[in-house]
Symmetry: C2
Subunit: 437 residues, 2 copies
């Protein structure tokens, strides 16, 4: 009954692992949000035979819509349109209006260097070849998309051809959905809801045990499509269900929050970044980072509007920067070592003082691969959380994994620890409120 | 003649775009490095019928090896082993030694919380079910991998089953390759070479035109598998070829470097990060970041050993931090605005002075979405590059895209500008040397 779709990601650079594909997941998520069931994503290189094989496979699997990404560029190895046209048995013809339109676009953004005629003209002509009986989609970059209607007589589903650069693909998505071919393919879709629950410091086996026990206790739990996913120290529980299964989802959400009250920090889809931004509203914050080397500041300022509360940060890698810029007493480093809760506290307090904020977070740790000892192995990170009017808190966590993992996990931990501290302050000031961690 | 492989990535969280798959690209690259031709990567969710369809598709395409990733966990939706076993017509049997081994591992890392017997035991038993006539691969986490020999009579290729967490998969890869099943499947592979050329400030259409013109002028250019890929403002040109095509590759590399001498900065596979680290060797560097908010410091310290030259950085978001901590004169901000080459210069000089380094790089710009004006639109970023004994350089670049793109492109630009300045200094001091940009 559901409308099913397949996604074909093309490009040797994706197939060979040179770049990580961002289009498959984005298109999949966008289709799911529309209530479309994504059955398969396939990735192929620039060999037409492999692309054709994948199109045949998806058509044989009975999908209603295929979305292809990539292979629309001006170069000779960009063969998606020709290959799909041949699969759909639709001859290509030059669309001269489209050709002029693409030439216009290129002329505009090459105004400094001019158009190098014959080679570029060949590329433009190639991009303006459109299969018979299909609809071109206005380019966001220079490559137009194409929507091909389903042809039941040929057993070919509707096909939406989109370019590879994510910004172009995403920009052309609404126009692609609005084409007759895609509108018709999606006309039978159901309505689904998606809810996300997020937990921190909850292990996957513990969650799996809870979900297994929930199966016997909640009616219609089999109507819920539950996906659990561990990332960056957090567990994400994504549930997709038809509107009729709302009572089952409500029961599951209650069951989970009852069993993991201390770990679940979000039941409304909000991320720790959202929650920390809300907690920092009306405040001012500074960072003092050693092992995370700027990652916390970078992640805080990733958000538009963060300049409202983020004033600045100091990446204090060398001990001299810790002492001179942040005012950490040299004796503290000599006595306890740079990686210690004492130094983390002094760094957080120092950042507050030097950068004139009411809140600060600090890290000092051993990201590896070198620098570990028996007492302080690689992965040991000390945190300081300074909030005006409160005693400065410190924490020590030992993270698993290599350098990049330790730094990423420590950054996420800093977000949770800071949000937790701010929520505790709020809870003490006002009515009781659930702690973030 | 080539050995061909297919990769099946399983997991609803990947199929639905909740997480970005890292295993497909990693396995593809690892196989390519071994001279194996990767024809297809397919992604499916937790529906056994979809996984079976993909296995059938790859077998029908004639691949010699299928690598599957994910779906080996203890939860009920982890169905890879059972589904692949059924596809390969090999009944599952409990491996009691493996069961005891997994229980041991879990007991070790759950020492604080104890084993919650019935549910966990069920999960462990599930993970210890092994298809008949296959070889289990010792787990890095808790999930063992499995290697299934090819069965020409059943038209099934060799299948290597690996877990989903990237660290586990990568840790188990050597043992997986060493199994009889995989060794035999890969025995006929050829030897390939891969070379990467990197350029900065080179547009893809310009590169495409050069490659088109090279086709007519270089013998055997069709023996080269050339992939071009734009990322983060750089163009990567990856060429894969058999040893016999070395003269063709050498001619292509010479042709490209002749036509784009000013843009090509690497012909030996080194990244700008590698080159900058080499250029900073024996020096000390500091950062002063406004719009990039810590990204440059974070990227510099991403590299093990960076503490040799990176002393510290200041994320100077608020103007008060620019003036007080970095010593930028208030009048300079009032007169020219915070986003100006004058302020960028003062920030870089200030960082050098405050953090006692011989080198510093600064950014101040408008990452958006707000804050743009006609004169300084969103995407405008000013850079300062201070090197001891040299006049401080400044640059202004207007980057396209949204907030995240502008910040990422500005970070990459800072790496190139700093490496370029350091190479110029070196060139003046010693024998002439090609500029980095």
């Amino acid at each position: 009954m559901n409308v099913r779709a397949g996604i074909v990601v093309t490009g040797t650079e994706v197939l060979t692992g040179t770049i990580t594909d961002r289009n498959g997941p984005w298109v999949a998520k966008s289709l799911l949000d529309l209530g479309v069931d994504v059955a398969h994503i396939t990735i192929c290189g620039d060999r037409p035979a492999d692309l054709t094989a994948q199109l045949r496979f998806l058509a044989a699997e009975g999908v209603d819509l295929i979305v292809t990404t990539g292979g629309l560029g001006p170069t000779a190895d960009d063969l998606t349109v020709a290959t799909v046209a041949s699969f759909a048995e639709r001859p290509l013809a030059l669309d001269t209006a489209l050709e002029a339109h693409i030439a216009d676009i290129i002329a505009r953004w090459r105004r400094t260097s001019g158009i190098d005629s014959p080679a570029l003209a060949a590329g433009i002509r190639k991009q303006a070849m459109v299969p018979e009986g299909t609809q071109a989609i206005d380019p966001v970059g220079t490559a137009p998309g194409i929507a091909i209607p389903a042809a039941p007589a040929k057993s070919t589903p509707a096909i939406l051809i989109l370019p590879g650069p994510p910004a172009e693909l995403q920009g052309m998505w609404p126009a692609g959905l609005a084409t007759d071919a895609v509108t018709q393919a999606l006309s039978g879709r159901g309505v689904y809801r998606t809810q996300t629950i997020r937990a921190y410091r909850l292990s996957e086996p513990d969650l799996a045990a809870t979900l297994r026990s929930a199966e016997g206790q909640i009616d219609d739990v089999d109507q819920l499509e539950i996906t659990t996913c561990l990332r960056g120290g957090e567990v994400e529980i994504v549930t997709r269900y038809a509107a009729t299964a709302q009572p089952a989802y409500d029961a599951l959400a209650e069951y989970l929050t009852k069993h993991h009250a201390a770990q679940i920090f979000s039941i409304d889809g909000s991320t720790i970044d959202d929650q920390l931004a809300a907690a920092l509203s009306g405040r001012s914050v500074a960072t003092a980072e050693s092992c995370t080397g700027g990652l916390i500041a970078a992640r805080l300022t990733d958000r538009a509007g963060s300049s409202e509360y983020f004033l600045g940060g100091i990446a204090a890698y060398a001990n001299e920067v810790k002492t001179e810029t942040l005012g950490v007493p040299t004796e503290l480093i000599n006595e306890h070592g740079a990686v210690s809760e004492q130094v983390a506290r002094a760094m957080a307090d120092g950042a507050r003082t030097v950068l004139h904020t009411d809140t600060a977070v600090s890290t000092t740790g051993i990201a590896g691969p070198g620098g570990g000892s028996e007492l302080k192995p690689v992965g040991t990170v000390c945190f300081g959380i300074a909030v005006a009017g409160q005693p400065t808190r410190t924490h020590t966590v030992t993270f698993p994994g290599g350098r990049a993992t330790v730094r990423a996990l420590a950054t996420t931990a800093a977000f949770h620890l800071l949000a937790e501290a701010l929520n505790d302050v709020e809870a003490n000031l006002a009515s009781p409120r659930r702690s973030v961690i």
